[in-house]
């Protein structure tokens, strides 16, 4: 393996201007495949979700999934696209065993949605408009396992095994126009675009868009041109970049690699490249001819899709608030900084916090638990926040118990711990673990008296006006009650008994 020469990112940008094109594939969350009624459920037995249509058996006739078309229109509308009045499917012909039909049913020169844009927000708040070329409908391919090679890679494999459960699952491919003018921020723009697109897809409810599960995949096309020139350079296409961080790294790496090749007088080969998660590098894949000969032709087994304008308008009316605008509104309502909002977004906590406040919790409490205790637990156990076995309603209940004084923060953490451990809902955990704050004034009063008696010197200081010293006595009482006292009330009692104004 040859070591790829790179120039520093700064040097690359001093001489060259990057132009990007991003292609994102989204697997729709429909119950069935795009052209047949086979289930799309993941992680099922190999080849248990196939039929004559998705296996491409002779005589089988595909029929398009209504929700697949509807989802495509929703995505198009949310991306400010025009929706075709009439469009067709096309066969993309190629020989590769991931499609048993020897072609992929896609759309060619008549995409269902075209000419749109998506505004994305960069870290510093700047809005960058990414122009959308098109969004079209197609189907996913089967899953190959390469056998006999050293690393499960295709090179050196003796044969391959195919599972066609995924073949035919609806895909929407979203293609940007060339992204120009981003300069040094191109990798950041790429990441922000994919992140915003993912939020949008989720808000539309058409897919969960989990990149780690391959429900959303990105190809990064990148070329450089000398600063101050207009003509695009030769591009490389880095395939299947499957996390937000990787999108940024892949773009950055390609900028540095292209610059190294170009500045040493070389030429960029138009090719696909593979991204390597371990070190953020890319390596050469297949050489791509400019006129790749897929011999597209209109799919004769499917009739044209001509979405009625009334339907399109109805779908437009039902579009959710755009994620970026919703975040701006929530940021305002919650009174948090841009930076905090970004952290909440990155943690995948926006919807959870909203659901928790909807369940009655004050937003600061909701944020505190999801971004604190729960985020920590999710991190430690390698789960997403939404995968934790606790619901927003349960978190809201914990917040309520804190507000009412039944729990203090320390106890609340134990309650959450109990819920996460599967001990039941918050009230059950409080009951079982005996976690109520000691609110029995008699017991508290006794505990305070004992603490004062045991710490006469400190008590004298407080009597003498050193109110700050009360903390030590509060600590003693909390210790005596094993944390189950309301610290604020304890402080009040101490000052009261010592005849000092708080």
């Amino acid at each position: 393996m040859t070591v790829t020469d790179l120039v520093s990112y700064e040097d690359a940008l001093a001489s060259y201007d990057p132009v990007m094109g991003l292609e994102v594939h989204v697997e729709l969350g429909t119950k069935t495949k795009m052209f047949c009624g086979c289930s799309t459920e993941l992680k099922q037995d190999a080849n248990s979700q196939t039929c004559p249509v998705c296996l491409g058996l002779p005589g089988a006739l595909p029929v398009v999934n209504e929700i697949g078309v509807e989802s495509a229109i929703k995505i198009g509308l949310a991306l400010n696209c025009e929706i075709a009045e009439w469009c067709r499917f096309a066969r993309k012909n190629y020989f590769y065993p991931d499609m048993p039909k020897n072609f992929q049913t896609s759309q060619y020169d008549e995409p269902i949605a075209y000419n749109g844009y998506l505004d994305v927000q960069l870290e510093d708040g700047e809005i960058f408009r990414v122009q959308i070329e098109r969004a079209h409908m197609e189907e996913d391919t089967g899953k190959s396992t390469h056998v006999g090679g050293a690393t499960g890679r295709i090179h050196g494999a003796s044969h391959s095994l195919l599972d066609y459960n995924r073949a035919g699952i609806p895909l929407i491919e979203i293609v940007t126009k060339p992204i120009e003018g981003a300069g040094a921020r191109a990798p950041e723009v790429a990441k922000a675009y994919v992140a915003e697109l993912r939020e949008l897809i989720k808000a539309l409810g058409v897919s969960e868009a989990r990149m780690e599960m391959g429900q959303m995949r990105c190809d990064v096309n990148l070329s450089l041109r000398p600063n101050g020139t207009e003509t695009f350079g030769t591009r490389s296409e880095t395939k299947n970049v499957n996390s937000l961080r990787s999108v940024e790294r892949a773009a950055r790496f390609e900028i540095q690699r292209h610059a190294a090749v170009l500045s040493s007088g070389g030429t960029i080969v138009q090719e696909t490249r593979h991204f390597h998660e371990e070190d953020g590098s890319t390596t050469a894949g297949r050489i791509k001819d400019n006129a790749e000969d897929y011999r597209y032709f209109p799919e004769p087994d499917l009739v044209p899709v001509a979405p009625a304008r009334e339907w399109v308008e109805e779908l437009r009316k039902g579009l959710p608030e755009l994620p970026r605008l919703r975040r701006a509104r929530l940021k305002e309502e919650w009174g948090v900084s841009e930076h905090d909002m970004q952290s909440i977004l990155n943690a995948g906590a926006v919807d959870l916090i909203v659901a928790t406040t909807d369940a009655g919790a004050p937003s600061d409490q909701a944020r505190k638990w999801w971004m604190g205790e729960l985020a920590r637990n999710a991190n430690e156990t390698g789960r997403g926040l939404d995968e934790l076995p606790i619901t927003p309603v349960q978190v809201a209940r914990v917040a309520e118990l804190v507000t009412s004084g039944d729990l203090n923060d320390k106890l609340a953490r134990q309650v959450i711990e109990g819920v996460l451990a599967g001990e039941g809902d918050p009230d059950t955990v409080v009951e079982k673990r005996g976690l109520k704050v000691v609110s029995d004034e008699g017991a508290l009063s006794t505990a305070v008296d004992e603490a004062i008696a045991a710490n006469a010197a400190i008590a004298d200081k407080i009597r003498g006006g050193k109110v700050a010293a009360a903390g030590a006595l509060v600590g003693a009482v909390m210790k005596a009650t094993r944390g189950q006292a309301d610290a604020a009330r304890v402080r009040e009692l101490i000052l009261e008994k010592l005849g000092v104004e708080g």
């Binding site: 037995d45 248990s48 012909n93 065993p97 009739v303």
Partner: protein
């Protein structure tokens, strides 16, 4: 005069993974040229007001509700496979990488 050259036939044969001998290329190039010529006459009679058609029936929007229907069993799905392993279709070494 539309038509197809011997080189184009050779290119298409490669894309279709067909191995054609020299004389076959000559033979098919001639035949395909005749066919394309015949079909091209359709464009001569079709005026601007006749849209190109890809389907014989004037239908649009034939769609299916998103409801799961039974699939084949893995055994049925694999019954026509020349080779199988681990309940999967077994295919020879793939040379061109995608």
């Amino acid at each position: 005069m539309p038509g197809i050259t011997r080189e184009e036939v050779a290119h298409l044969a490669r894309l279709a993974r067909l191995e054609l001998k020299g004389e076959e290329l000559d033979h098919f190039a001639g035949q395909l040229d005749d066919i394309i010529g015949a079909v091209a006459r359709v464009s001569e009679v079709a005026d601007q007001d006749v849209p190109p058609t890809s389907h014989p029936l004037p239908l649009t929007n034939v769609m299916r509700a998103d409801e799961v229907r039974p699939s084949l069993t893995p055994e049925q799905a694999l019954s026509g496979a020349p080779a199988q392993e681990q309940q999967r279709f077994k295919v020879p070494q793939i040379l061109g990488e995608d």
